[in-house]
Symmetry: C2
Subunit: 128 residues, 2 copies
């Protein structure tokens, strides 16, 4: 009759899923991480290409996010010992394994926007 347990406290299964969800968010939740991941799903890119593609990100932050993705093993950093230097960023298989999740997030986000922001173009200019 009761659901989960008498006090509605978080049960073990929920706790474990919660922890895993939080972990996922900590990995992909950075300000530019989804952008970077979407970029790299199209194929490997050099640092400067990323910088150009991702408008508005500063060098410091871009590098920070890349380093985090790297230490989370989503991104591989390949350094070619040349002059001038060349560095390529590429998704690891773990990184590529995010694609379905990112797609689902995109789908849900689109749905949510449609449901919560019904038909903007029908309201001409916003009176107040």
């Amino acid at each position: 009759m009761r659901k989960t347990n008498s006090t509605n406290a978080i049960n073990e299964k929920t706790l474990s899923r919660l922890c895993s969800t939080a972990h996922t968010l900590s990995v992909i939740g950075g300000r530019w991480k989804p952008t970077i991941l979407w970029c790299l799903l199209d194929g490997k890119m050099r640092y400067h290409e990323l910088k150009k593609s991702i408008k508005g990100v500063s060098e410091r932050v871009l590098v920070l996010q890349l380093r985090e993705l790297e230490s989370d093993q989503l991104v591989k950093r390949i350094i070619y010992p040349e002059v001038p230097p060349r560095v390529e960023y590429e998704l690891t298989s773990l990184g590529k394994s995010l694609e379905p999740l990112l797609n689902q997030m995109a789908s849900w986000g689109a749905l949510h926007k449609k449901k919560t922001q019904p038909a903007r173009e029908l309201e001409p200019a916003g009176v107040n």
Copy 2:
């Protein structure tokens, strides 16, 4: 031969998905939002039950996150005009529609942890 286009700039489709992904993250990405959502997936709860279930959250922050979830229409707030006051929080259908996504996030998070943190229990106590 070329992929997407010549300069590897973000194309329209990627841009749209990126935007939707960012939107999803802005909705569920708060510090306690996944916790709250997992709780409410088990059923409606009163404010104080949430407060007790979610250890470590302060009142201010809990209310803030609930208000954001409410204004994003994931959570319904039901006020009973009684003394003492009673308020229940419940997922809307839009909130419930997050369940598959949260499940997938949990699955990916668990997988990622397994791949990046191999077999903790094999290292006895951590020497350094």
